[in-house]
Each structure stands twice: as structure tokens, then as C-alpha cells.
């Protein structure tokens, strides 16, 4: 079966929250048919790798099948949190958009459920090459 590589934001949306030095990022399927792909492809290890520069001490994924949503909790990724980080965005509000650019592979049969327009060369535009 042929498939397409797309950024996660075409299959899901999400929002970041913070408490102390811990960030949580929701990943919510745009359509129930896309939910199994998210569960299969967006796991703790990939998310931890995505945020390697923030040196998470732990990444935990919680599944909410009724909502077709996942909640990622990333420990110690906020440089101390809102009162201690030097980041302009000391809450880490923007971090959901780093996760939402993760490449995922979607079978052609499910592509009709994707949000947004096709970006045919996405797979060659992995934007951040972290050393």
C-alpha cells in the first residue's frame, strides 16, 4: 500500500501547558481514522529525540482513546520553568509546534482525512538538524 510522509500537524493539533519545569503537549487527531497512526508512530522515544536539546529526564505518553488524543509529559525541559528560564518563552508555549512538525507516514487511503494542503516535498525539508 502506498503512503505519504507528512508533518504531524496535518493529522493532529495540540497545545502546550506548563507547570514548574514540566511541559505537557497534547496531540489530538483531526479525525478518528487517523488516531491509530498517531499511536503507532508518535511514541515516547521519538518525542524524546525531538526534544533532545531540552534534555528531558523523562517523557511519558498518556492515551485518551475516547478523545482520540495523546498527552505527552516532558520532565525538566523548561530550563527551570517560568521563573528561572532565560528563554523569552519561559513557559515553553511554542513547544507544541516543534512536536507538530514531526514527520509521520500516512497510507493513501487515509489522506483524505488530513488537514491543510499537500506539501509534496515535506520529507526533504526536515527543518532542524540538531547535532
Amino acid at each position: 500500500m502506498s503512503s505519504r510522509t507528512v508533518p504531524l500537524y496535518r493529522a493532529a493539533h495540540g497545545r502546550t501547558g506548563d507547570k514548574g519545569n514540566r511541559s505537557n503537549i497534547s496531540v489530538i487527531a483531526w479525525h478518528p481514522a487517523l488516531w491509530p497512526i498517531l499511536v503507532e508512530q508518535v511514541g515516547e522515544a521519538r518525542v524524546a529525540a525531538r526534544f533532545a536539546h531540552r534534555r528531558p529526564s523523562r517523557v511519558t505518553r498518556y492515551l485518551l482513546p475516547n478523545l482520540q488524543a495523546m498527552n505527552f509529559v516532558l520532565d525538566d525541559v523548561l530550563d527551570g520553568g517560568v521563573n528561572d528560564a532565560l528563554n523569552l518563552d519561559s513557559h515553553g508555549k511554542a513547544l507544541a509546534f516543534l512536536l507538530l512538525e514531526l514527520p509521520i507516514t500516512v497510507p493513501d487511503a487515509l489522506c483524505e482525512h488530513l488537514a491543510g494542503a499537500d506539501e509534496p516535498d515535506f520529507s526533504s525539508t526536515e527543518p532542524w538538524r540538531l547535532a
Binding site: H13, D79, L130
Partner: protein
């Protein structure tokens, strides 16, 4: 199955200190039009806000409550009182009694009958009397004398009980300091429905209603829009949320007619998970809410129902945040544009690193790499050098010694004459830093109580 009855409506007209102050009028209009029992809540107390309020109170003992209190209440106070819409808010911050006095004065200015105003107290655990509790909670290895010397405030997150007690006692307005945000809605629900306080399922459902309300427009299309993916109509006049809570605690989220924004299953899911860690155990002072089996149901345009939330017995401890003044935070920015702007900004950063070697600098190249990065700079150094043509350099650092920290804004300013060509738009800042630590103390050590204010 509960008997059919009118829902309790709770509108939320502010989601943080600094939120819009013109949100309440459409919410109050909708509550009046709906009739029936209703409340208006304002959530204005983020983690840090209370510490800033305490610092304000040190300068002026009459201050220390929400600075925008007048702007928030003046447009709607008379109308709420005339229509039996009771108001609950944590806008008391570090001085609930001061806020209550100001509200009484505002009511007098507006020429309305004096409202019954209650204050909720007991959250302040920063006094000498609380030392043993704090020492135990922070751990015996922590130098409490050192902490107390620089402490700005220590406050426990109180729950809904004292709010409910004040409402049952007849308060028109309840002013709190630190309470858990969802408790602002749980208190009215408890008072209205008369639930047992160990009815954990209902408490949990009301808690999630409060959770959906507490950030104001974040559930009605605010903080959601992403053009082409998540389009939101009328974002500039986004309506604030109203929860219709039934006798079982389940809620329907809606918003005033003819306001902007929108509510659908997706906006509700995003806010439902906001600042949640383990969805099976969302801890509040009132209950441990379990939303792992929650469902959202679109009932119609801008009407979404949340079901399936369960509850477990409340935790035996309350969370406490301790704020201390610790060190100085310095930052500075300068912009470069046109050909080779990125190279010139990177050169400016190198100059600052050399001149400010006593400071651990964070460097951002806004327009190249900034807020996704880390304070150590691993992210920035992994980015290939490019040819961005509009870059704003930002540097930041903290230091315990003010004189050392102050060198940062001076060096950024000096880039005007000593840095690379064409830098402009310097902005700098220097402020005392507030550090925070959290701990948990047994709830018996922090008795919450309300006091009905005497009319002046």
C-alpha cells in the same frame, strides 16, 4: 438519573491577570437572558502573579490585589447585583480584604446597594507560625532561615469549600487569594447543588468544568487559531465561555451569542488537556479528577458537552508555592536588517560573549532560532549559518550580584557605537528575579475560612 432541572450557569470573564477587561459584558448579557441561577468568575492569579502582588503590597499596604479590579468589575457589577448573578474571583491576590474594600467603594460609587462581600483566607503560609510546617515540607536539609530571609510569599492552593460556605452564608461576591483555579467554579456548584463534599464523581465533573473555564477564551477559540488549519472567525471579539452544569456535574460549554470565536470538539479537547499530566489523576485540593474516559459531544454550534469524568478522594496534602527574591535578571536586544544581517547579528553575539564572560549568556537570533531553543545554546549552535535579512539579537542572563548583571544592558547598549554596522532598536531590562519552589503540606495545617465583610 437526576431529575430534570435548570442548569447552573457559570460564566468566566478573565483567564489571567492582564486578560481583556471587556469580556464580561456579553457574558453577563447571556446569563441575564438565560435567567436561572448563575455566577460570574474571574481567574486572575497565575503562579507568579501572587508574588508580584505581594511585592506591590509591601510598597503600599492598601494594594496587593488585582490591579485591573476596577476595569474588570465596573462595567458589570451593578447588573450582576441587580440580577442575582454572584461573583467569585481570586482577584484578592495578596490582599483579599483590600480588594473587598475596593469593591464596596466601587458599589457605592455606582450607587447600588452595598453587596455582601466575603473574603476567603488561610492560603498564606509564609508567617512565622508556619515555620515548622514549611520546614517539614521543604525537607530538613533546606536552610529555612535562608529561605525566609528572601521569601516574598508562600501560599497554599486552597479548595472550593470555603467559597461554597461563603455562598451558602449569603455572599454576593466572594474574594479569594490563592485557590486552585477550578475551585472558583466548584465552589458555586457545591453551594448550588448541595452535593456531599465526598461526592467525588460530581466534584470531579465540576472541577473539569472549572478547568475548561479557568483560562477564559482558551476554550472558545482563543489561543487556537492557525490559519489554514484551525480557522477561527471573529478572533478579535472572541466570546468568553459559559458552562452549563447539571445536577450530576456534567457540563456543556457555550459562549454568548454574537461574539467571535467558536467552540467545537477540538477547541474543548485542547483545553481539556491543557496543563494536565496524568489524565487519570488531575490533582486539585477538592478531588482527584479522572478524565481518562472523558468524552466530548458536539450538541450544536458553539455547544459542546463533556461527559464521563470520574473522581477519586481528594489528596491529603495541599500544594504550596514559595517565592523568593533571588538574583538579578538582565536582558537586551538589538536588531539587524538588510544584506548580511544574520552575520552582523552573530558577530554582535560574539562581541557580547567576549565582553560578558562573567555571565552565562543565553543568545537568541530572533528570525533564525529563538524560543524553541534551550538556555545552553545547543539548539542555536545546531542551526546552519544562513543569510536571514531581518534578525533581532537577544541576550539574557541572571546573576546574584546586581552590579555584574547590570553590565549586560550596558554592553548591549554600547553596541550602538562599538558593535557591527547598522544595529538599531536597542531595548534593555534589569529586574530582580523571583525564584519558586513547590512543596506539599498536610491540609489540616492550612485551615481555609471565610469572613463576611462588614459594610463600611
Amino acid at each position: 438519573m437526576a431529575l430534570p432541572s435548570a442548569p447552573l450557569r457559570i460564566g468566566c470573564a478573565a483567564g489571567f491577570s492582564g486578560d481583556r477587561t471587556d469580556a464580561a459584558e456579553p457574558v453577563v448579557d447571556a446569563l441575564v437572558a438565560a435567567g436561572g441561577p448563575s455566577f460570574l468568575i474571574f481567574e486572575t492569579l497565575a503562579e507568579r502573579t501572587l508574588a508580584l502582588a505581594q511585592l506591590a503590597r509591601r510598597v503600599d499596604p492598601d494594594q496587593g490585589y488585582e490591579p485591573l479590579l476596577d476595569e474588570l468589575l465596573r462595567p458589570v457589577l451593578a447588573r450582576c447585583l441587580a440580577n442575582g448573578i454572584r461573583i467569585v474571583s481570586n482577584f484578592g491576590a495578596a490582599n483579599p480584604r483590600g480588594a473587598a474594600r475596593r469593591i464596596a467603594a466601587l458599589a457605592a460609587e455606582l450607587g447600588v446597594a452595598a453587596p455582601r462581600i466575603a473574603v476567603v483566607e488561610g492560603d498564606d503560609v509564609g508567617t512565622a507560625a508556619h515555620r515548622p510546617l514549611l520546614q517539614e515540607a521543604l525537607g530538613t536539609s533546606v536552610d529555612l532561615d535562608g529561605v525566609m530571609k528572601t521569601m516574598v510569599c508562600a501560599n497554599a492552593y486552597l479548595g472550593a469549600e470555603a467559597i461554597a460556605d461563603a455562598l451558602v452564608a449569603g455572599a454576593d461576591i466572594v474574594v479569594t487569594g490563592r485557590v486552585a483555579d477550578p475551585s472558583l467554579a466548584v465552589g458555586p456548584a457545591l453551594a448550588h447543588f448541595g452535593w456531599r463534599r465526598d461526592d467525588w464523581d460530581r466534584m470531579a465533573r465540576a472541577t473539569m468544568a472549572g478547568h475548561l473555564l479557568e483560562c477564559g477564551a482558551q476554550v472558545t477559540g482563543g489561543y487556537y487559531a492557525d490559519p489554514g488549519y484551525k480557522d477561527v472567525a471573529g478572533l478579535a471579539r472572541v466570546g468568553y465561555p459559559i458552562a452549563e452544569i447539571d445536577a450530576d456535574g456534567d457540563c456543556t460549554i457555550t459562549k454568548p451569542p454574537r461574539t467571535g470565536g467558536g467552540i467545537d470538539a477540538h477547541t474543548v479537547k485542547e483545553q481539556l488537556l491543557y496543563e494536565v499530566h496524568d489524565p487519570a489523576a488531575y490533582l486539585t485540593p477538592d478531588v482527584i479528577a479522572d478524565l481518562s474516559e472523558a468524552r466530548v459531544v458536539e450538541l450544536g454550534p458553539d455547544r459542546v458537552r463533556v461527559e464521563g469524568v470520574r473522581g477519586h478522594p481528594r489528596p491529603p496534602t495541599l500544594k504550596v508555592n514559595v517565592f523568593c527574591e533571588q538574583g538579578w535578571f538582565a536582558e537586551g536586544e538589538i536588531s539587524y536588517a538588510g544584506p548580511r544581517a544574520e552575520s552582523r547579528a552573530r558577530l554582535a553575539a560574539d562581541v557580547l560573549r567576549e565582553r560578558l564572560s562573567a555571565l552565562a549568556l543565553r543568545v537568541d537570533l530572533i528570525g533564525v532560532a529563538s524560543i524553541l531553543g534551550d538556555d545552553r545554546g545547543a539548539w542555536l549552535s545546531a542551526q546552519p549559518r544562513g543569510d536571514a535579512r531581518d534578525v533581532r539579537l537577544r541576550v539574557a542572563a541572571v546573576h546574584d550580584d546586581k552590579a555584574v548583571a547590570q553590565r549586560l544592558p550596558r554592553e548591549v547598549t554600547a553596541l550602538y557605537t562599538c558593535g557591527p554596522a547598522g544595529g538599531g532598536g536597542v531595548r534593555t531590562g534589569l529586574r530582580q528575579r523571583l525564584s519558586t519552589r513547590s512543596c506539599f503540606i498536610p491540609r489540616e495545617g492550612v485551615p481555609a475560612r471565610f469572613a463576611m465583610m462588614e459594610p463600611a
